[in-house]
């Protein structure tokens, strides 16, 4: 019986292979987008962890030279011999013909247990590591990249951070050209009971306190949450397809279920068979989805890596490593998605009345009945979204609000379309037109899931598009203000800085020192910049809000300017008191500082002297833009500055913009994918409906409408529904954009952006959605046009 039952159930898919393909593709797509995004997030986080673990360096105090230069190796020995337990590190970049790596030179003798990643500890005390030619230990992926270069022998060790290499300190000194010099010393745990102060041993050195290891993770959290939200959205859109396909398949097999039950198959056995069938589909589609997800992740990862590097300086391996757990979660999500999508259908089967007549239209009718419930749910979610927006705070609340908003809009869609179609029907004149409106309304339930998916995709597109374009517009304007100097020059040390300044002053309109120090506000690291009292700042600096005499106050040391991020973080407004590394002062103004993950404070040049270890090596130069090339050459010739130490405004802007563009490249790609999925959803819905609609079309045909006319009406219907959906998506999308700009951005990055409207984008999107609908309806319309009249006639001969 079971076998016969299984055979009967499966035969459905033989007869409707396209439905099977739809189901599998929908599920695979949902799984792919979700697992792709997860793969990217996981890879990025693993990279941060590896980087953070590099020597445990972030969390340990460091000893550095006061002037930021290298440390003499003899100072290391002197400190050790005085009882300071420190371990030396050289840290620099090594260029090879296949790109560069960051090379850390370590001393395995004094570096404590657990400070090296992965299995490196097992390698580092090997004589071949310690003595020339030495070894460079890198990750397998980096090893592949460096193959054939003239570095010392490469050793592959899993778990080493990407684009990073470890070597013995002596080997690294030679590779970096730093013989006898150290970059910094790490201060180890368990210092001896007594030891002399650092000043008495090496007065040129200072201790820089370690930062929390979780810094990178904290900074990038919002970015990953963004990605996750997108992954979830795509997953949801994919599930709409699955839900549609499963619902349809169950409805069409209702007579089969009834017959099987009547023949003695228990409800439990029937449900078991159906679940087994779905499980097989879920696993097959899941596997396919994971493969697709891997492909998506591989394609997107370079952009994500570039973004993270640009925004946060986080290094992420450009290659994916596939962990078994990733496969398992991918399959898990696929099965879960199937369960969600098929839950209500299974429930209906479980309660199937044995003797109820076959109702081919029952599915659609039931959908109509459920509309009321949808309306209630939509309203509840809308209220929830409003409440979250009003009461909630934090990124998660922001995304919860977005989610509630989108789902509410999706649930309300059929209802609104229903109303609109009814309205259209009332205004229609003539039987064919009236039939067209009524028939469209009648079809709505079958199409509504696909249309909901389209609404989500379109709204997201409008929302994200508006956000990105608004941001770009603001960002470009901000760059023009912020980068007012024509040339930015960094000296190698303070002695050179003095000469450099004198040199520049003779050859420019103004030299603006950009001196800085590290400080803290409320225990968190803060950048402190000294700002010269110069019209360049007064005229250009992107102030958001300020006291009237802000620049005078800053110049006199009566107040400071803070960046927007800091103002949101600590809830500061102009006039509020603030303590910067122990200095009690006042906020004189707030400026925008896009792209900076850290708090920043601008102080007057005189006030800067109160902070420790000020770097006085960077200058902005105001000259005629046409003279930048000549001055750059002069600087290189006179001071031997490396080209990296001189950046002109144009290049800086270009670099900033390219970081910006890459940041949103991923967003754009996911956007397009989502839209494609939605288009596919419409296609599948229309195609399945086309076969079911014969009984409704046959009478109209019989009344004299040609098949060609019917087919054209079919296409108009698709266009009408897509157009209406787009119109509804517009306000939803704009609301979404507002939430992204005013809530999510503030929470995630600490800046609020003005919203700009881009009607051109909307027109384009309308065109796209109509095109998608047109394409999707093309094939079903063709089928209608080619249905043999004999099939039409059969409708009257048997009632199916």
């Amino acid at each position: 019986m079971m076998q016969a039952g299984l055979h009967a159930l499966l035969s459905h898919w033989w007869r409707r292979p396209f439905q099977l393909v739809t189901l599998l593709l929908g599920l695979a797509t949902a799984t792919a987008l979700w697992s792709g995004v997860q793969a990217i997030n996981t890879e990025a986080r693993a990279s941060y962890d590896r980087a953070a673990q590099a020597l445990g360096a972030e969390s340990r105090d460091r000893i550095v030279a006061r002037d930021g230069a290298a440390i003499n190796q003899d100072d290391f020995v002197a400190l050790r011999r005085a009882g300071w337990l420190v371990t030396p590190v050289v840290d620099g970049r090594v260029q090879t013909e296949n790109g560069s790596i960051r090379l850390l030179g370590v001393d395995p003798f004094t570096l404590p247990g657990g400070s090296l990643p992965g299995d490196l500890a097992d390698t580092a005390l090997d004589l071949s590591f310690l003595t020339p030619p030495g070894q460079v230990v890198v990750s397998p992926a980096t090893a592949d990249r460096l193959a054939g270069t003239d570095l010392p022998p490469i050793v592959r060790v899993e778990g080493v951070a990407p684009a990073m290499g470890y070597a013995d300190i002596g080997i690294a000194q030679d590779l970096l050209g730093l013989r006898g010099q150290l970059s910094y010393l790490l201060v180890l745990d368990d210092q001896p009971l007594t030891r002399p102060s650092l000043d008495t041993i090496a007065p040129d050195l200072r201790v820089r306190e370690g930062q929390g290891q979780a810094d990178l993770a904290r900074l990038t959290d919002s970015f990953h949450l963004n990605l996750t939200a997108f992954g979830l959205l795509s997953f949801a859109v994919g599930l709409f397809i699955v839900r549609g396909a499963v619902g349809l398949a169950f409805e069409q097999r209702r007579p089969v279920f009834r017959t099987l039950r009547a023949l003695g198959l228990s409800t439990r056995a029937l449900l078991g068979l159906l679940m087994a069938e779905l499980l097989v589909f879920a696993v097959v589609a899941g596997a396919l989805g994971i493969a697709l997800g891997y492909l998506i992740a591989t394609l997107l990862l370079p952009d994500v890596a570039a973004t993270l590097r640009g925004l946060y300086g986080a290094s992420v391996e450009g290659e994916l490593s596939i962990a078994p757990v990733w496969w398992l979660t991918g399959l898990g999500i696929s099965v879960l998605g199937t369960a969600i999508a098929a839950g209500s259908s299974l429930w209906q089967v479980a309660r199937l009345p044995l003797l109820a007549p076959a109702q081919p239209r029952a599915w659609a009718m039931a959908r109509e009945r459920s509309m009321r419930w949808q309306a209630v749910a939509a309203l509840a979610l809308a209220v929830l979204a409003a409440l979250t927006g009003w009461l909630g705070s934090g990124l998660v609340a922001g995304f919860a609000m977005l989610g509630a908003l989108l789902i509410a809009a999706a649930l309300a869609l059929p209802l609104i379309l229903h109303g609109a179609l009814r309205l259209g029907g009332r205004m229609a004149r003539g039987p064919v037109r009236e039939w067209f409106w009524a028939d469209t309304r009648q079809q709505l339930p079958g199409l509504s899931l696909a249309l909901m998916a389209l609404l989500l995709a379109l709204a997201t597109n409008i929302g994200v598009g508006t956000m990105v374009s608004s941001f770009r517009l603001t960002f470009t304007g901000w760059l023009d203000q912020r980068l007012a100097s024509e040339l930015y020059v960094t000296a190698e040390d303070e002695a050179q800085a003095g000469d450099l300044r004198a040199f520049l002053e003779e050859r420019s309109r103004a030299v603006l020192p950009i001196f800085s120090a590290e400080g803290e506000i409320g225990g968190l690291p803060t950048e402190i910049y000294g700002v010269a009292d110069h019209p360049t700042y007064r005229d250009n600096w992107p102030i958001l809000s300020a006291q009237p005499d802000v620049w005078d106050r800053v110049a006199e040391g009566d107040g400071v300017l803070i960046n927007e991020q800091l103002s949101y973080r600590d809830d500061l407004s102009p006039g509020d008191a603030i303590i910067v590394s122990g200095w009690q002062t006042e906020v004189a103004g707030i400026y925008s500082d896009y792209g900076n993950p850290l708090a920043q404070v601008l102080v007057g040049m005189d006030a800067l002297d109160r902070f420790e270890d000020v770097r006085r090596t960077e200058f902005g130069v105001r000259i005629d833009p046409s003279e930048t090339g000549a001055l750059t050459d002069a600087l290189i010739d006179t001071f031997g500055l490396s080209p990296d130490a001189i950046v002109d405004q144009a290049r800086l802007k270009q670099m900033s913009l390219s970081v910006f563009e890459r940041t949103f490249a991923v967003t754009g790609a996911l956007n397009v994918l989502t839209l494609a999925v939605a288009g596919f959803a419409i296609l599948t819905s229309l195609m399945t409906l086309a076969t079911m609609r014969l009984p409704q079309l046959a009478p109209v045909w019989a009344l004299g409408l040609t098949r060609g006319r019917l087919a054209r009406l079919e296409m108009w219907r698709a266009l009408l529904l897509a157009g209406l959906t787009m119109l509804l998506a517009l306000p939803v999308g704009l609301l979404l954009a507002w939430v992204l700009l005013a809530v999510i951005n503030v929470e995630a990055f600490g800046w609020r952006l003005p919203m700009h409207l881009f009607p051109g984008q909307w027109v384009l999107l309308m065109g796209l959605s109509l095109l998608a609908a047109l394409l999707a309806s093309l094939w079903p319309a063709r089928r209608i046009a080619r249905t043999p009249p004999a099939d039409m006639l059969k409708v009257f001969a048997n009632e199916r």
């Binding site: 009882g83 370590v106 570096l111 580092a124």
Partner: protein
């Protein structure tokens, strides 16, 4: 890098020896033989030869042609009201590669390891330092004598008059050691055989130091006086392949005599127990295997192992029949190569104090 895992030897002679080996273990193929790899092949290194007289002060300095070497001092000290303390100061040198020279800078192939410990009847403080030669962080010079690793030092005008210092996170000591007695060669005039198969080392001692100085403990400083014992030993393959560890005694007897004895335990049960009786004037009488006999009387669980902390020792030729007890049975050296080392009391036919070192108990 986890020194502990990296340097822990696979298999199981004096802890010091062992320790050196620990550093040595990092060079070349994994040494699975003997405690701390001390049974490893000595290819490329110099080997001790019998009949070579010591030359001082040159032999107080390092012998880089040999694989391993140590400067090993233990001191039995007494504070106010007769309270007993023990102090250990050890510097191991371990060549990472044969060659006998030490390249300057980071490419140096000499590893150095320091162990310092301070034992009270209730507590045991221990700390460790590791360094490489070549950059000045650790080393030994013979004249004037100085041995150092980081801020720890054994510095004299000469090895007969040194200041010994070390600090750890929770203790420190600063002691003056002096003696007018000669250094005492062990074994066959300094050639000390370690197994039936002929493994051997150069070995001399200075068991006659008088000590005074200051200990710094968590609850304050303590003035102390007492006796100290120096062992100097260098070799390239000091243990036989099957020797799994040792029990090493260095005892100051009340009559002014000193007794050094060690049992090298063999995996086959064929232990090797040799000793040296040192008269109060410094004249040594070595005894080959089979004279000194020792039996553990009581074991204490330390660091998850059963360690014999109470012993019976007998040397019939000297009418010696004594019991040796740990002052603090938890004197576990939780260092890269872990072992037990602590001060002991001697009772029986002779009374006295001393140090016991036990390695290779798993």
């Amino acid at each position: 890098m986890n020194v502990r895992h990296q340097w822990t030897p696979v298999g199981p002679v004096r802890a010091a020896t062992l320790a050196l080996m620990a550093i040595g273990g990092l060079a070349g193929p994994a040494a699975a033989q003997g405690f701390a790899g001390m049974g490893t092949d000595a290819e490329g290194y110099a080997l001790p030869q019998p009949g070579v007289a010591f030359s001082f002060p040159a032999d107080h300095g390092p012998h880089p042609a040999f694989r391993i070497e140590w400067w090993y001092i233990t001191a039995n000290l007494e504070g106010p009201e007769g309270r007993a303390y023990g102090v250990q100061w050890t510097l191991f040198r371990n060549a990472l590669a044969p060659g006998g020279t030490d390249a300057p800078g980071w490419a140096a192939t000499q590893g150095w390891m320091g162990h310092a410990a301070l034992t009270t009847p209730e507590r045991h403080f221990v700390t460790e330092r590791i360094a490489r030669g070549g950059i000045g962080q650790a080393g030994v010079e013979s004249d004037p004598f100085e041995a150092w690793i980081d801020d720890w030092g054994l510095s004299g005008p000469s090895l007969s008059d040194v200041r010994m210092t070390a600090t750890g996170p929770d203790f420190a000591y600063d002691l003056a050691l002096a003696t007018d007695r000669p250094f005492v060669p062990q074994g066959d005039n300094g050639y000390s055989v370690k197994s039936e198969a002929g493994q051997a080392s150069y070995y001399y001692s200075q068991p006659f130091y008088q000590v005074e100085g200051t200990l710094t403990l968590p609850d304050g400083k303590v003035q102390v006086t007492g006796d100290a014992w120096l062992d100097r030993e260098w070799s390239s393959q000091p243990l036989g392949d099957d020797q799994t560890g040792w029990d090493w005694f260095s005892l100051h007897l009340d009559g002014g005599e000193k007794l050094m004895g060690y049992r090298l335990r063999d995996a086959s049960g064929d232990d090797f127990f040799v000793s040296t009786w040192i008269a109060a004037d410094g004249t040594p009488t070595p005894y080959e295997d089979g004279h000194l006999r020792g039996t553990p009387l009581e074991r204490t669980e330390v660091a998850g192992r059963e360690i014999p902390t109470h012993w019976s020792l007998a040397l019939p030729e000297r009418d010696l029949d004594i019991e040796v007890r740990a002052i603090n049975s938890a004197a576990w050296m939780d260092t890269s190569v872990a072992y037990w080392e602590g001060p002991v009391t001697v009772t029986g036919s002779h009374d006295g104090i001393g140090y016991l070192e036990m390695t290779g108990y798993e």
